[in-house]
């Protein structure tokens, strides 16, 4: 942890020139105030989440009775209810498969397109860019009827691959849009040098340009992951087979049922169940993530 902390805390390669001391006392006050701001912020972030965690172990009666009272005992049955009633396990697996597939495909297609749009001039480039941005602007739920028939025609309705394609298509404009500026910023000389060396377009892209755009790719991948993980309307319409439900669908139908039977304990437990795995993945990878972002940035 400490190595990471150091990397985060200090802008790397700090020169050893001694900074001018700008008034020790005032400096301490400002530092203290800053520290206080961050502590308050941390409390604001954590309080609702910890409260949710605590509530997930209470019975519905206890939740209604008092917001702060600790659970009388750990009502683990909330988790059992959420798990069995909502079938969260299966939906979770479906979500992982769909999101992983769509994320890989989106990043591949999006980065290739952004690369071309950023670095090559060709007639119609402006129009293509505008059309890409246009895709970001329309409410998805007005488009799902035609989309339904497109997937039906391709025999991909109610299948996970169909969902992967739909997810990819709707994440594509954002990905291209976001990556464009990263590719625009990359030094052109490197690519030129590579092509003079006789590297093919493919090799230039995958072995030279893509690694250089890694910080941007990391940021977009994180944004996309959450966007895809939260995707709700597309699966509702395009994936009505309960076997293939993804987590958001499962949660919605569960929230609806839990709301009707007023099982708030299970509702909170279900919420925690959807958060924790993602949080764990983040905590495991965040060092690498931060590392790659920082490393990319320093170049």
């Amino acid at each position: 942890m400490s190595a990471v902390a150091d990397r985060g805390a200090r802008t790397d390669v700090a020169p050893r020139t001694d900074g001018r001391r700008s008034g020790g006392r005032a400096d301490k006050v400002v530092g203290g105030a800053s520290q206080a701001v961050l502590v308050v912020w941390t409390v604001l972030v954590l309080a609702p989440l910890l409260w949710t965690l605590m509530s997930s172990f209470k019975t519905t009666q206890e939740i209604f009775a008092s917001p702060f009272a600790l659970p009388s005992s750990l009502h683990v049955e909330n988790y059992v209810n959420a798990w069995t009633l909502a079938g969260i396990g299966r939906y979770f697996l479906n979500s992982v498969l769909v999101v992983a597939g769509a994320l890989a495909l989106t990043m591949l297609l999006g980065s290739m397109s952004a690369y071309v749009l950023a670095r090559f001039a060709f007639p119609g480039r402006g129009a293509v860019r505008t059309l890409v941005v246009a895709g970001l602007t329309f409410p998805v739920f007005l488009a799902v009827v035609p989309l339904f028939f497109i997937l039906q025609q391709a025999s991909l309705l109610n299948t996970l691959p169909g969902l992967v394609l739909a997810y990819t298509a709707y994440a594509y404009p954002f990905t291209v849009f976001f990556l464009l500026s990263f590719f625009e910023d990359l030094p052109g000389e490197v690519a030129e040098a590579a092509s003079i060396d006789g590297a093919s377009e493919w090799r230039t892209f995958f072995q030279v340009m893509l690694p250089m755009a890694r910080p941007g790719m990391a940021a977009v991948a994180i944004l996309n992951f959450v966007g895809l993980w939260n995707q709700f309307l597309l699966p509702v319409v395009l994936n009505s087979d309960q076997e293939n439900y993804v987590l958001t669908q499962g949660m919605a139908s569960f929230a609806s049922q839990a709301g009707y039977s007023v099982d708030f304990g299970a509702l909170f437990a279900g919420a925690v169940t959807t958060i924790v795995p993602v949080l764990v993945v983040y905590l495991v990878f965040q060092r690498r993530l931060q590392g790659s972002v920082a490393q990319g940035s320093v170049k």
Binding site: G8, V13, P15, W51, P67, V116, F141, A143, D185, I275
Partner: protein, 299 residues
């Protein structure tokens, strides 16, 4: 280039642009959304929207979100990012506050919580009698907040809603900006400090221009999100809030399309929303260009 841009773009056209084009056509019809007849009404739907008080209220609220949410998120996340990167003691090398890594990890937490779950959690936090917020406020002696309906009072519903969206995104952009600031040559900070610049001046004259590209992209993304905001609003105030004070365009589109059976009219609202979004994106890029911002994460 065909493989890099042509194929992905064709795929995007089929899956995204084509359905949107269809929806645009629907906006010229009086289609109910469920029948086969689509009586053509020309621009009739648009004329109706111009005199539709409820739609105009929703549009006004959406524009409020568009103006306020990205601004708050950007300012807060930039300020926090500055504290973490060079807000620390001015003695020695430029560095952030102690515990940077911890704050950065914690701030990211809300981002891994699905939007629907964020809505569910905060609806509970705001509950007048059993919620965390009033529990804390009355706990410290502010008795006038006993049973105060944060989401049910015209004066506070919108602010409370905005707070939730800001809560959900500040951490992520903070992490993003931290990475970008770390990409700035540290010698610039050292030099500024030798010139006697304080933290605020360093932030405004070095950090901000240094990451302007990131801010621009983030601003666009937050703006688009604020114009949608559907999931949050449905969870917090599915009826559009007291006196429709939190009714947004996407909610109005949704109920017009599905419970009122006026899909054509809903599509017209969608087109209006798309135009607003495009104007917004254009405006952000225009302003950025005037300010001399170019490229992505790094200047």
């Amino acid at each position: 280039m065909v493989v890099f841009l042509g194929l992905p773009f064709a795929f995007y056209v089929v899956m995204v642009l084509y359905p949107f084009t269809q929806a645009t056509y629907y906006s010229l019809t009086a289609w109910t959304g469920f029948s086969a007849e689509q009586p053509f009404v020309g621009l009739g739907n648009y004329a109706r929207l111009a005199g539709d008080a409820r739609f105009l209220t929703a549009l006004g609220n959406s524009l409020t979100l568009l103006v306020v949410v990205p601004a708050l998120v950007m300012v807060a996340s930039f300020a926090l990012a500055c504290l973490l990167t060079f807000g620390g003691s001015t003695a020695g090398s430029v560095k952030g506050l102690r515990g940077t890594a911890f704050y950065r990890v914690v701030s990211f937490f809300p981002y891994v919580v699905p939007a629907i779950v964020i809505g569910i959690i905060w609806a509970q936090v705001y509950d007048p009698s059993g919620g965390l917020l009033n529990g804390v406020l009355t706990g410290v002696g502010l008795d006038r907040f006993t049973d105060f309906p944060w989401l049910g009072d015209v004066d506070t519903a919108m602010a409370a809603t905005i707070a939730v969206i800001v809560w959900a995104f500040v951490g992520f952009y903070m992490v993003l900006f931290v990475a970008s600031i770390q990409g700035i040559d540290p010698e610039l900070f050292e030099a500024a400090r030798l010139d006697g610049a304080g933290r605020v001046r360093s932030a405004l004259s070095i950090a901000l221009p240094g990451i302007a590209g990131s801010v621009r992209t983030a601003y666009v993304y937050m703006g688009i999100l604020a114009l949608d905001a559907f999931v949050y609003l449905q969870a917090l105030n599915p009826n559009g809030g007291p006196d429709s004070s939190t009714l947004v365009v996407t909610q109005q589109i949704f109920s017009t399309a599905f419970s009122q059976g006026q899909f054509g009219l809903a599509c017209a609202m969608g087109v209006v929303l798309a135009v607003v979004t495009l104007l917004f994106v254009g405006a952000v890029f225009g302003v950025a260009r005037l300010l001399g911002v170019r490229g992505g994460a790094r200047a």
